[in-house]
């Protein structure tokens, strides 16, 4: 989904035809676009400016009053960030977010890639039906899984008195969240990767097999390097999804302060100190730094990943 393709040359010709009306309407178009852009950016800009203002200023005047004094040194401070990172535990929360998000991205991609390869290039009974079942699971919303999984984590599962899933006391651990995100991300990942890996030319894989490579070697040496674009798109989507998630973290990571991820920390800060905007704005901006960095540096993959992944449960 590359959004910005150049307009076909004929278009400028038709424009020339109504040159005068086109010129005026062109400026009108620009104005309207500018207005919408400003409208869209103002809330975030307000947050960013506020996060760098001293507490007293924030509470005394609106953030927009700081703009005329923007070159005055006394207008700005970084003490809000200092306070949030050290005293409100956002430094820890940032690390926890990383510890949750990176494995929650890599594990589902790995598992999905192996499965996708098998669905595409290995012969086994029922592979078509299994693949349809996997894709069908896209319809199951996350909410359907919360209660049973939490019960599984806290007390295991028994069928007719036989323990089929031991009580592992998983709740509140990283592993609990990794596996949950893996489960919820898998149908989409398998689907996307299977479509891509299945469309790779069979001649490469055949010649690798003639050279004596087994499936595992073909997969790691050939398929993974060739699938980098689709892996990157899904990785970015899943990374943002997990990083920005509150619900799964809230339920499976639990309330222990030392385990909190950024979204939890932000939510709790909002609940306990909802009026202390110096903390809230700085905290909110800290939680946005990584996604925004990904957005600006990998925009192409980002758009592709989000558009492909928007159906996720």
């Amino acid at each position: 989904m590359t959004a910005a393709t150049a307009p076909a040359p004929t278009r400028s010709g038709s424009r020339r035809r109504h040159r005068l009306s086109w010129l005026t309407s062109h400026w009108l178009v620009k104005l309207v676009v500018l207005l919408i852009v400003i409208l869209w950016l103002v809330p975030t800009v307000g947050l960013l400016i506020t996060s760098f203002r001293p507490t007293d200023d924030i509470n005394a005047t609106g953030w927009w009053t700081a703009i005329p004094h923007m070159f005055d040194k006394a207008t700005w401070t970084i003490s809000n960030y200092d306070a949030v990172l050290s005293r409100q535990g956002f430094g820890n929360a940032f690390l926890n977010s990383l510890a949750v998000t990176i494995p929650s991205t890599v594990i589902p991609i790995t598992i999905a890639a192996f499965a996708a390869y098998a669905f595409a290039w290995m012969e086994f009974k029922g592979r078509h039906i299994l693949f349809v079942v996997v894709v069908g699971l896209l319809v199951v919303p996350l909410q359907m899984a919360l209660i049973p999984i939490l019960r599984l984590y806290t007390s295991g599962a028994e069928v007719f008195g036989v323990t089929i899933f031991p009580d592992l006391d998983l709740n509140g651990t990283y592993l609990a969240v990794w596996l949950a995100h893996t489960g919820f991300g898998l149908p989409l990942a398998v689907y996307l990767l299977r479509n891509y890996i299945g469309s790779l030319p069979s001649s490469i894989i055949e010649s690798a097999r003639i050279d004596g490579a087994d499936h595992f070697k073909i997969f790691t040496r050939l398929i993974i390097p060739l699938s980098v674009p689709v892996l990157a798109s899904f990785a970015i989507f899943q990374f943002l999804w997990v990083w920005n998630d509150l619900l799964v973290a809230l339920i499976f990571l639990g309330g222990e302060p030392q385990n909190r991820v950024l979204t939890q920390a932000l939510m709790e800060l909002n609940a306990s100190r909802g009026n202390e905007w110096q903390l809230l704005t700085a905290g909110a901006f800290i939680s946005m730094t990584l996604p925004l960095a990904v957005f600006f540096s990998l925009q192409r993959y980002f758009v592709r990943g989000l558009t492909a992944g928007s159906v996720k449960g």
Binding site: T2, W178, L246, T307, G313
Partner: protein
């Protein structure tokens, strides 16, 4: 989706010869067998130990996070490698290649079974049971659903969700479509910049967006200092009394929806923009030569050709809207008649400890989402086939 041809097995033949190549070969295979058994066992033990360390330790958070990342990422690869090695060495060559697919697909299927299939069935059953999930619910099992459709609180949540589902996708698509159409007429550079500014909120979490907008809506009673929230700043600047926006029923629902519209418009815009650009240029040209105004070109030519994309965007955003929980949870906690189904479900489950009603709400959500998802997956498959 046409299935790619499946390859004949060419690996097992040479290896079979190696295995039957005398004493040296069999000694080698014994060593490999031991190694193959040892790798998964040692790997599992290692994972288990670090897992316990992660749970119990009060160690430095940076260290914990690093260990967690290494174990999580490395563990999953170790698992596959160990399993594959096991299959290649321990199993007799004859059945090796028929077992190997299980190594590749097995983990995915196990996780899907545990995390989606089992819960979907279990939640459906729980929806017909009591609060603790022990006995069948009253009224022959339908008690939870009867509760939901008679209790005024849950009815409000359902009403609000329906409002969200109508308003948010509509507004996002209209603004996104307008923006995509307008920027299409601009230069390439300007277009790309303007679009990325609208798309930017997609990177922000719903919690973060709630804080952003919470600040926009923030309120101080008159006489308690200047208004620091943007909306009240403008509002009082126009000579009005400050307003506690989030307490204004029923409009507060709309103010919460604005947050999601703000987030989703970028998505609608990107997809619709791509669709608009794929409308054939000579079609537009022909309409213009026939003297059609730009508005007519848009409504009679562009709109009909992107109709199916609009449907996909609407269904996709609708799915997101049904499941949105964070905004309401963070902004109002569902008070002031702002609750929605997904947020109410968590509340029933967590706060009221009523698993039955929580599960029933999840089932309602599931049923509401199914038709949208069917449309989407179908559409996606068509796209893949024509590519």
């Amino acid at each position: 989706m046409t299935a790619p041809p499946v390859l004949p097995d060419k690996v097992s033949e040479p290896r079979r010869r190696i295995l039957s190549a005398g004493a040296r070969g069999s000694l080698l295979s014994v060593v490999r067998m031991v190694a193959a058994l040892a790798v998964p066992i040692v790997g599992f033990l290692l994972l288990w130990l670090t897992f316990n360390f992660l749970r119990d330790s009060d160690a430095n958070r940076l260290l914990v996070a690093l260990v967690a990342i290494v174990v999580g990422v490395g563990g999953v690869w170790l698992l596959y490698w160990g399993m594959d090695l096991l299959v290649s060495t321990v199993l007799p060559a004859r059945i090796r290649e028929s077992i190997r697919p299980a190594v590749f697909v097995g983990p995915a299927l196990v996780i899907l079974a545990v995390y989606l299939i089992y819960p979907a069935i279990n939640t459906t059953i729980l929806a017909f049971k009591d609060a603790k999930g022990e006995n069948w619910a009253s009224q022959g099992g339908l008690g939870n659903f009867i509760d939901i459709f008679t209790n005024s609180d849950t009815l409000v949540a359902i009403r609000n969700s329906l409002l969200w589902v109508v308003i948010v996708p509509t507004a996002s698509v209209i603004i996104g479509l307008a923006f995509a159409t307008l920027t299409d007429k601009l230069g390439r550079r300007t277009e790309a910049t303007a679009k990325s500014m609208i798309f930017l909120p997609m990177a922000i979490s719903l919690v973060g967006a709630s804080i952003v907008w919470g600040f926009v809506y923030s309120f101080r009673s008159a006489g308690f200092g200047e208004q620091i929230g943007l909306l009240n700043g403008i509002w009082t600047g126009m000579g009005n009394k400050p307003v506690a926006w989030l307490l204004q029923e029923p409009w507060n629902n709309l103010y919460l929806m604005v947050i999601l519209i703000w987030l989703q418009t970028g998505f609608a815009m990107v997809i619709l923009s791509a669709a608009i650009k794929s409308v054939p240029e000579d079609l537009l040209e022909a309409a213009r030569i026939d003297g059609a105004s730009e508005w007519k070109v848009f409504t009679r030519v562009v709109l009909p050709s992107i109709a199916s994309t609009v449907v996909v965007v609407v269904t996709t955003i609708t799915i997101v809207v049904w499941k949105v929980f964070d905004i309401v949870f963070v902004m109002t906690g569902g008070r002031f008649n702002t609750s929605v189904v997904a947020q109410r479900m968590v509340k029933e489950f967590f706060t009221f400890r009523n698993d039955g009603v929580g599960a029933a709400l999840a089932v309602i959500l599931f049923i509401a989402v199914i038709p949208m998802m069917v449309v989407n997956v179908r559409k996606f498959r068509q796209q893949e086939e024509t590519r």
